[in-house]
């Protein structure tokens, strides 16, 4: 971005646009019925169980699409591929934590196993795998900014609200509080990967933003369609 008197680095420019997309996304989250009801102290434990159940596929598939994306990365980007692989490996057992929350919240594990995706999750999952199957799909960094940002920034206040207002126990909330506390510094990680030479790939900066926007919309859709299978 060349301007009157100064120039942002491409990384700053991408992070700035991602932050604008994320700010809109996070504030729109509050309008999603499940979140809005939680903020209004109107949530019951069975609503929370549906949230866990409908979130389950996304969590299980998270490391799946990151692995798929890694397998779509070719030379000369093998160093970046390693970052994707290690990211996937950090998260690939997280679904077990969610299973424990589900059981703690009074759910039967076999029901969770049988649970199909809600219609929003279907769209989100299809989109993520579609993107991950493209050659060198670094635009998925936009998706990570949204999904990881949610874990770090939103999960904490959401969990606190559920805990204080609805009396949902620490055990039942483990998945969300763990992510709030342990998601580490994803902003630094994302910046580090953007600072490798990938942003010189033609059109990539714009595609990262677009992928972030679509992912944000589909993530909301997943939450809007809770219980609709």
């Amino acid at each position: 971005m060349t301007t009157k008197g100064y120039q942002l680095t491409t990384v700053q420019q991408v992070l700035r646009k991602l932050t604008i997309v994320w700010a809109d996304f996070e504030s729109r989250l509050l309008q999603v019925p499940i979140i809005s009801r939680a903020m209004n102290n109107q949530l019951q434990l069975d609503d929370y169980r549906i949230l866990l159940a409908d979130h389950y596929h996304q969590v299980k598939e998270g490391s799946g699409w990151i692995c798929r994306a890694a397998s779509s990365i070719t030379e000369p980007y093998l160093e970046q591929r390693a970052v994707f692989i290690s990211h996937a490996s950090t998260e690939h057992m997280d679904y077990q934590m969610l299973e424990r929350c589900y059981v703690a919240a009074g759910g039967y594990i076999n029901e969770l196993y049988k649970q199909s995706k809600n219609i929003g999750s279907e769209a989100l999952s299809a989109w993520m795998y579609h993107k991950a199957s493209q050659p060198n799909p670094f635009d998925l960094i936009g998706a990570m900014f949204i999904i990881e940002g949610l874990g770090k920034r939103f999960a904490q206040t959401f969990a606190e609200t559920l805990h204080h207002n609805m009396g949902i126990s620490a055990e039942q909330l483990e998945f969300y509080t763990y992510h709030a506390e342990h998601d580490g510094d994803h902003l630094d990680e994302l910046e580090a990967i953007l600072n490798t030479d990938i942003l010189t790939i033609p059109q990539l900066p714009d595609e990262i933003i677009r992928t972030a926007k679509v992912t944000a919309r589909l993530y909301l859709l997943q939450l809007e369609e809770l219980g609709n299978y």
Binding site: G5, R16, T157, E160, T161
Partner: protein, 376 residues
């Protein structure tokens, strides 16, 4: 359209500065535990002194409208313009002295100047820049030649124990949503004069743009009075109870703040700031003075980091604030800061000033961008 200038600024802070340990003598004491929460709040907001239009005996020394009028007269004196030349008056306040009629009428009455056009802006902090924008545009479109915008607050009257007693007393568990505001907000007024020419001598501020965005579509009320709660289950407006006294008994009159929600507004404000930087192609390093209407402490580390990484951080040595010794006067604050900036800082032509007024009321974010014009 022609350039418009702020040619005069003024402020009025009632009485003497009140130190932290003198606050309870004026706003009253609720309980030991309330005072302890107050001390914690003061450590957080960093305010050392503030002003109150209440005396220790519980009587008021000024009304809100009187403070606004004094600030406006100060701004007109600074612009060297006689009050009777004003042909547009825009006022802002969170709550006027009366419920009806509009606050601008009360201020006009106090000023005692001839008939003119006026507008009352009522919101929390961002109403300041709503009034400023209205004054700026009115002169800009040649609908007026000399406009004033004021911001004034008489917050302390909300904080006397009598405002809470039926539902909140010495036996209650301290409520941070009530106590935070009680120990943060205080009284005062500020004003600015808008004209189509810079003043013949001295510093004027050209108004380059004023922008604001409301996020009420996604946030429920965050700082509010007139309902018990911002939860949809019990947010009946005070005016729909069987009587005002029933609303008061229920706690629907008190002024409250929802903290969980407050922190959720930060990203929306940061997002809007980044949007404006891009829209107007502003280099944060070209901004000479950044006047944020909130304490630097409340800008979370994470937000700061985000601003640094997105090339959007204004170096902290350029932040200008008098919050610590003038207090948080809501909609008056930005005018009170501008007054001090213009009257104490060595401003030179071409310098840029960015005013930032986020409003937690229901999520409004406002900015005003100024260029110094020195005719000396």
């Amino acid at each position: 359209m022609t350039d418009i200038f702020i040619t005069g600024v003024g402020k009025y802070l009632p009485g003497k500065p009140v130190a932290n340990n003198e606050m309870e003598a004026i706003i009253g004491r609720i309980s030991e535990r309330s005072a302890a929460l107050g001390a914690a709040t003061l450590r957080k907001n960093g305010i050392k002194t503030r002003y109150y239009a209440l005396a220790a005996n519980g009587e008021h020394t000024h009304t809100n409208a009187q403070m606004a009028a004094k600030a406006i007269n100060g701004a007109l004196a600074h612009a060297r313009r006689p009050p009777d030349r004003v042909d547009y008056l825009a006022t802002s306040t969170t709550q006027g002295d009366y419920l009806v009629p509009g606050f601008a009428s009360a201020v006009h009455g106090e000023l005692g100047i001839p008939p003119l056009e006026l507008a009352s802006f009522q919101s929390v902090c961002a109403s300041s820049l709503m009034a400023a924008k209205s004054a700026w545009l009115t002169v800009r479109t040649d609908e007026a030649k000399l406009a004033v915008a004021s911001g004034s607050e008489f917050s302390s009257r909300w904080f006397r124990p009598g405002f809470y007693q039926p539902f909140y007393n010495e036996h209650s568990r301290p409520d941070p949503g009530l106590e935070f505001l009680r120990w943060t907000l205080s009284d005062g007024a500020g004003a600015a004069v808008f004209e189509p020419e810079p003043k013949a001598q001295g510093v004027s501020l050209r108004v380059d743009w004023i922008k604001q965005k409301s996020f009420a579509d996604r946030f429920p009320p965050c700082m509010y009075a007139g309902t018990v709660s911002n939860k949809t289950t019990d947010n009946q407006p005070w005016s729909l109870y069987n009587s005002p006294s029933e609303a008061y008994q229920a706690g629907a009159i008190a002024l409250k703040q929802d903290f969980t929600l407050l922190y959720k507004m930060f990203p929306a404000w940061v997002g809007y700031y980044l949007e404006l930087l891009d829209k107007y192609q502003i280099d944060p390093h070209e901004i000479d003075y950044f006047l944020p209407h909130y304490s630097a402490q409340s800008l979370g580390q994470e937000m700061k980091k985000l601003l640094v990484k997105t090339g959007a951080m204004i170096p902290e040595e350029r932040w200008f604030s008098n919050l610590a010794y003038c207090g948080n006067t809501g909609t008056a604050s930005i005018f009170i800061m501008l007054d001090e900036l213009v009257k104490t800082q060595p401003l030179t032509s071409g310098q840029k000033i960015l005013c930032f007024v986020p409003e937690s009321g229901r999520g409004i974010c406002s900015f005003m961008y100024l260029t110094v014009f020195d005719n000396n």
